[in-house]
Symmetry: C2
Subunit: 234 residues, 2 copies
């Protein structure tokens, strides 16, 4: 039996709590970060709070083994004087949507092999995709995630804005969006690249620019140029 | 029975041919654009060739009703003297991958209601998602598709480059990529936007910029600023 304390009330803490509660070998307790004085001892204490609060909250807990769940915070930003680790799940968690933990990559870090094994046992009790990722690698993943998640979503937003302005239903683009995401399962993004930029189709590029507002033009131009340069370097 | 001539040997022509051949009510013949002199008469002649070749090829065909399959070419760029139309499928077609036409949006345009009905009958014989889209709207869709497909794939490429440079497996990001694409089924891209840009999290933004090369920084900055401005305008 592994005892787990979950500190926090947000999406990550709540989804994790619901997952652990279904595992026989885990005894899990969820605690608000406002009740730090009342935290019982446990094999693993998981702090699932906002990045800015991790240092302060970890400094106030005396439990043996404390891990955080952040992609952008280093292991050493934990300020407990006991053992430290990271239990980072690279996925977007929405409040009302059930998480399929089998699809969630668990990025684990610990100070020694025994602690790493413990985190691995926790992760495999609810998931399948387990990775050993140190703080430097995790920072890398976090910034890469900004491109493939935040900036990609912003590409969808621009597409939506263009459609709305011209009275075209955005839903027409949704199958293409899904296919674009699926394609990289069997093609590298480099080999999956299509479009006027990579074809050097100046006529289409000019036509497209005429349809865009100033801000959209700026983004279209910089991405087109960058795609074209990325080919020259091959 | 509807008779269809397909002109072209590319991905679109070939996938369409394979779909139509399975429909009892359609008699389809595929012809290379080099055999224009031999084209028999048909109810619909579909020119599925590269954008640049559409005007010339259409000018050489005397069949009654000629349509093209391009997203960026106007109906009036067809140079036949008979009836014109557009049979545009908004999806990426890969040579070796079977197309699920039920998921493909058909964007149809014709000069009169009767021709539109004919194209609709063709489209519904192999697919489900049928839209009436004029040439202006189609141009809009085409540029929006550049953002949600070409530029999105380029975001994946940058994510991949960042991972490769730091020895992190890119596959860790794939579930996030899929979830990002699925999320807009139930949230508008505007409401699905997350990340340091929209949170105005200057500390994380600064940390991220330190991990990127000059070109990646340029893209990161312009997209971050644009996301932040898009909020101010709400």
């Amino acid at each position: 039996m592994i005892s787990v304390i979950l500190v926090g009330n947000g999406n990550v803490a709540t989804h994790l709590y619901e997952a652990f509660i279904g595992v026989d070998e885990i005894k899990v307790t969820q605690i608000s970060s406002r009740e730090l004085a009342l935290i019982p001892q446990a094999d693993v204490t998981i702090i699932a709070v906002s990045d800015d609060a991790i240092a302060e909250i970890s400094s106030k807990i005396t439990n043996d083994f404390i891990v955080h769940t952040s992609g952008s915070v280093s292991l050493n930003d934990l300020k407990n004087t006991t053992r430290k680790g990271v239990f980072y799940m690279l996925q977007t968690f929405s409040k009302d949507k059930k998480v399929n933990f089998n699809e969630v990559p668990f990025c684990l870090e610990a100070e020694n092999e025994k602690d790493h094994k413990l985190l691995e046992t926790l992760a495999t009790s609810i998931g399948k995709k387990i990775y050993k990722i140190n703080s430097e690698q995790r920072k890398t993943l976090h910034v890469a995630a900004v491109f493939v998640n935040n900036f990609t979503n912003y590409m969808y937003k621009i597409g939506n804005d263009i459609c709305e302005k011209n009275n075209v239903p955005f839903e027409i683009l949704q199958p293409l969006i899904k296919e674009t995401a699926s394609k990289i399962d069997y093609l590298s993004p480099k080999n999956a690249q299509t479009g006027p930029a990579i074809r050097n189709d100046e006529k289409t590029i000019k036509n497209h620019l005429n349809l865009l507002d100033t801000n959209q033009q700026k983004i279209y131009k910089i991405l087109t140029k960058s795609i074209q340069n990325s080919i020259d370097c091959v």
